[in-house]
């Protein structure tokens, strides 16, 4: 184990946020004359729009415009998508609606209340069409087509073969297969979407404030839709945002919509999404059906893996979808040493809200299938599931480890991490609890999950969905740039800016710590300004806060920018202190001679030299006013011609185990004990790391037991309030014992890996395994609600009765 370089400190962000002095999007002033928008949404899952009559609404006092798909079609282009199929999505529905909640018209009025009044006066005639909700049904030839021009709902199918899976399967001792569905859910940030847009007709430009989270690869998508060059769409992100978890990427169609509203009315337009809108239409993680099969030896060693992943993206494919289906491509074998893989990735569209970014991003879907399969292998071979896990883990001597599908796992000792987690009596305690419970006739089970948590996505991974020839034609995509800047003011005060958006991840605190360390200053003297302005700040397409890229990416860029500044200041100081640069150190707010610390000047005095006295700088040196670092790791190579792809830069490891008890009267699942072991490389700030892990754990529990976007067969949306869509409260989240094992990443200067998504990936699988162990059933559908637990118990009892009758 290594020690952390930075001591935990109190967060810089907190005093303002605790005092009501946050600056969230809806808090910021807007120009006098700003209008307010309300979105009219489809009540149908699938229907043709026959007529929209806004005459009455437009006569209403204070109403400036009622925009429809026809306006949008005249002024904008459909959004670019990652798959070249004729599936057009616009900022408002054009001719047809394809999910309940789809934006159909925009009312712009002098107040929000007036806009909502006028919306009731807009008459819209629909001709309902048959809807398709089930992803497997949508793949059938008889299914209604979402986009008839595409001629199919299954708009992308790609098959991959890594190694020689066919012959390994052919000669395997056993083949063990199962089908695992993953539900639709969101993590519903408490702050909804906010957009304030202005159009400058003289310049043909848009200026938009929005709580967008990135990735900024979507900026060109929005600019293209608005038919302007990138610089004509100035996007500003406020200093604070009330949570995102991936969800605030999907604000982008509304950014375009409200920008067009500003263009049509000639006034600034503001739109604040309400919760009902958010639940019905903002965004969802994609649901997936995975058919997974292992070729195994009699002792439970997995030799080859076969997966058919059918992912349901709802009505449209928003950029950068189908990301979740490909983000884990390199890591599809998880924590296991499996050389042969056959993989089929299928994208299907259904009459549901479009799916998009969500914390975990493909990991939860993959690992629920993989870890349920591990448990099934153990069950069928009558082995201990923990032994099956251990037998298949990648051995430590193989790191850095190239997976079958091309990921380059940077570091780790998975076996050791598991041993630590089960040690100190933790596993014995779980076994004892289960034995005692079962002796008393109570329903108790134990689950395990071992997962690899990728961080900092390769911008080229999505091109794996194209064939090698198509990739060749489209031009290279790879890498991932991270950027940060360190600035010095005329009195030597230091500010930092960076390419992240803020939604509570403590970036200000951590960046201040990193820069302070290099400059020999107290962290509380470093100002960190993270509101982002695409017209003036450093950014690349990889900018934003997603794929846990902060620790492995932006933090590194800040470190490098600080080192650049430090080295320049050393050279400046050497001249003024009359020593060699090698003898200069920055410490305790001073810049001084290492060999004679009394020969020192205050940091500010040296740092301000470039402002006041640039002539005194060492010969040839550019003034040290602002140092920007752009970092891109060479390991993020483009997909190889055989489709191997290193999807991410760093790969952490998580091993979870838990005991659950099921109430035989209420069918509720109670998590009795939960242990989560993390190897996230070097931990930069233990308290903040713990906060990220606990947050992901709560969302993992939510996915396992509570949250699901539910539709009926006709496509009606059934979970449109927080009374129907169950977000767990303090009463539902169990204690989680967090353990760490640190294997620093050799691929980043700070050795840190991402850690904020891991429990979204591991916890649903771990809980599902514990439930099936408790019930003695082969399958459980998540979220494991009391209704589903009851059904599983009934099915198990009937099966037992049938066995009894046969005997």
């Amino acid at each position: 184990m290594t020690t952390s370089p930075v001591k935990p400190v109190l967060r810089k962000e907190d005093p303002a946020l605790l005092s009501g002095r946050g600056r969230y999007a809806d808090d910021l002033p807007v120009p006098v004359g700003t209008l307010h928008a309300h979105v009219i949404r489809s009540p149908h899952a699938h229907a043709d729009i026959l007529r929209i009559d806004a005459t009455k609404a437009l006569k209403h006092d204070g109403v400036w415009a009622v925009m429809t798909g026809e306006d949008i079609r005249k002024l904008s282009d459909p959004f670019m998508a990652a798959i070249k199929v004729p599936v057009q999505q616009w900022a408002l529905a054009v001719e047809r609606v394809r999910y309940v909640g789809e934006p159909v018209a925009l009312v712009v009025a002098e107040t929000r209340y007036l806009a909502e009044d006028a919306a009731e006066l807009v008459a819209i005639d629909y001709k309902p069409l048959e809807a398709v909700i089930d992803p497997q049904a949508a793949c059938q030839g008889s299914a209604p087509l979402l986009h008839p021009e595409a001629k199919t709902n299954e708009i992308s199918v790609r098959e991959f073969r890594y190694g020689d899976p066919a012959s390994v399967f052919a000669r395997a001792d056993r083949r063990i297969a199962m089908t695992v569905p993953f539900p639709r859910l969101s993590f519903t940030p408490i702050e909804c979407y906010v957009v304030v847009a202005q159009h400058n007709a003289a310049e043909g430009s848009y200026d938009v404030l929005a709580n967008f989270q990135g990735p900024f690869s979507i900026h060109p998508v929005m600019a293209r839709a608005l038919r302007v060059a990138g610089p004509k769409l100035r996007l500003r992100i406020p200093p604070d945002s009330g949570g995102s978890f991936g969800i605030k990427l999907s604000i982008f169609p509304y950014i375009v919509l409200i920008a067009l509203g500003a263009r049509i009315t000639g006034r600034p337009v503001k739109w604040v999404e309400d919760r009902i809108e958010h639940l019905v239409a903002a965004s969802s993680g994609p649901n997936r059906i995975t058919q997974i099969e292992a070729a195994v030896t009699g002792k439970g060693r997995i030799l080859a893996l076969k997966l058919d992943q059918l992912e349901d993206y709802g009505a449209f494919l928003r950029a950068p979808m189908p990301g979740p289906l490909y983000r884990m491509q390199g890591a599809v074998t998880g924590a296991y040493d499996i050389e042969h893989v056959e993989l089929k990735n299928r994208v299907v569209l259904t009459n549901k809200m479009p799916a998009s970014l969500i914390r975990g991003f493909g990991g939860p879907q993959l690992y629920l299938a993989l870890e349920r399969l591990i448990a099934r292998v153990a069950d069928e071979l009558r082995l201990d599931p923990l032994d099956v896990i251990k037998r298949n883990l990648i051995p430590p001597q193989k790191f850095p480890y190239r997976t079958a599908a091309g990921a380059l796992y940077d570091s780790g000792d998975y076996g050791r991490a598991v041993e630590i987690a089960i040690g100190e009596g933790r596993l014995e305690d779980l076994l004892r609890r289960r034995a005692a419970a079962r002796t008393d006739g109570r329903i108790y089970g134990i689950g395990f999950a071992a997962v690899v948590e990728p961080a900092m996505s390769n911008m080229g991974y999505l091109s794996t969905l194209m064939t090698a020839q198509a990739r060749e034609k489209a031009g290279p995509k790879n890498g991932a740039v991270s950027m940060a800047r360190v600035n010095i003011d005329p009195l030597g005060a230091v500010t930092v800016t960076a390419d992240v958006t803020v939604q509570g991840q403590s970036h200000e605190t951590v960046l201040a710590e990193i820069v302070a360390k290099e400059l020999g200053l107290p962290a509380d003297e470093i100002e960190v300004v993270l509101e982002l302005d695409t017209a003036k700040d450093q950014w690349s397409i990889a900018a934003g806060t997603y794929s846990s890229r902060f620790a492995s990416g932006t933090a590194v860029a800040a470190h490098l920018a600080a080192v650049q500044m430090r080295e320049k200041l050393k050279a400046i100081a050497a001249k003024q202190l009359n020593v060699l640069p090698e003898d200069v150190e920055l410490a305790a707010g001073k810049i001084r001679s290492r060999s004679n610390p009394d020969n020192a000047l205050p940091f500010g005095r040296i740092a301000a030299t470039s402002h006041w006295s640039p002539v005194m700088l060492p010969e040839g040196m550019a003034p040290a006013l602002s140092e920007t670092a752009a970092w891109t790791p060479p390991e993020l190579e483009p997909p190889a011609s055989d489709d191997r792809i290193n999807t991410s830069l760093t790969y952490g490891f998580i091993f979870d185990m838990c005991g659950v008890e099921i109430d035989p009267m209420t069918y509720q699942v109670r998590v009795d004990r939960y242990v989560s072991m993390h190897d996230a490389g070097r931990i930069m700030n233990p308290k903040i790391a713990e906060g990220q892990i606990r947050g992901a754990f709560a969302q993992g529990i939510a996915a396992a037991l509570y949250e699901e976007f539910a539709y009926n067969e006709e496509g009606a949306f059934l979970t449109g309030t927080f009374a129907d869509y169950l977000v767990p409260t303090a009463g539902e989240i169990p204690e989680c014992e967090i353990l760490h094992y640190e294997s620093p990443s050799p691929f980043t200067p700070l050795g840190a890996k991402g850690l904020a998504e891991g429990n979204c990936m591991s916890t649903p699988a771990c809980i599902a395994n514990a439930i099936t162990d408790a019930l003695g059933v082969g399958e459980i559908v998540l979220p494991a609600t009391p209704r589903r637990i009851h059904a599983a118990m009934q099915a198990a009892m009937q099966a037992a009765r049938r066995v009894g009758a046969r005997a």
């Binding site: 967060r11 408490i190 903040i688 606990r694």
Partner: protein, 162 residues
């Protein structure tokens, strides 16, 4: 009781964080919108507008209340306290706020003002709550970032010290 007609705009006067303030409101205007957009007190946040998430909680005459389920006109003449009232004029955090900071009880901070106001009320009535009681009151609030552990620890710390 004061009667107002549907389309009539009325002046609503309240005492907000110790200061007498008034502004115009339609009868249907929610108190949360009135505080934020008429009086400029943006520390109170709106998360669901149907009374579940608790982000908009303020004190009306000392009692924790969902400001999204209250009309502005209902607050006429009342004493309202919001999160802006908690810190000292020099910005010094009060013991509850400080305990939140000590225990990393917030990340994005959007739900935090409502939780602080609920427990300002609750701890005044029950200064030594059990952990179960804290969880019970806290279950009236949704937080998506923290998993709640830090919040419970913070309230326990504030109750110990208070």
């Amino acid at each position: 009781m004061r009667r107002v007609n549907r389309d009539e705009r009325v002046r609503v006067a309240v005492t907000l964080n110790g200061r007498k303030l008034s502004a115009e409101a339609e009868p249907r205007m929610l108190l949360c919108d009135f505080l934020r957009h008429a009086l400029g007190a943006t520390g109170t946040h709106v998360g669901c507008e149907h009374g579940v998430c608790g982000a908009c909680t303020v004190l009306i005459d000392g009692a924790a209340t969902r400001s999204c389920l209250t009309f502005a006109v209902q607050a006429e003449g009342r004493d309202i306290k919001t999160v802006e009232s908690l810190a000292g004029t020099d910005g010094a955090l009060n013991p509850l706020q400080q305990a939140f900071r000590n225990n990393h009880a917030l990340q994005c901070g959007f739900c935090t003002p409502g939780i602080l106001m609920s427990f300002t009320d609750y701890l005044a009535r029950n200064p030594r709550p059990s952990t179960a009681e804290i969880r019970d009151v806290l279950s009236g609030h949704l937080c998506r970032c923290t998993g709640y552990a830090g919040i419970v620890a913070a309230i326990e710390e504030a109750a110990r010290g208070g």
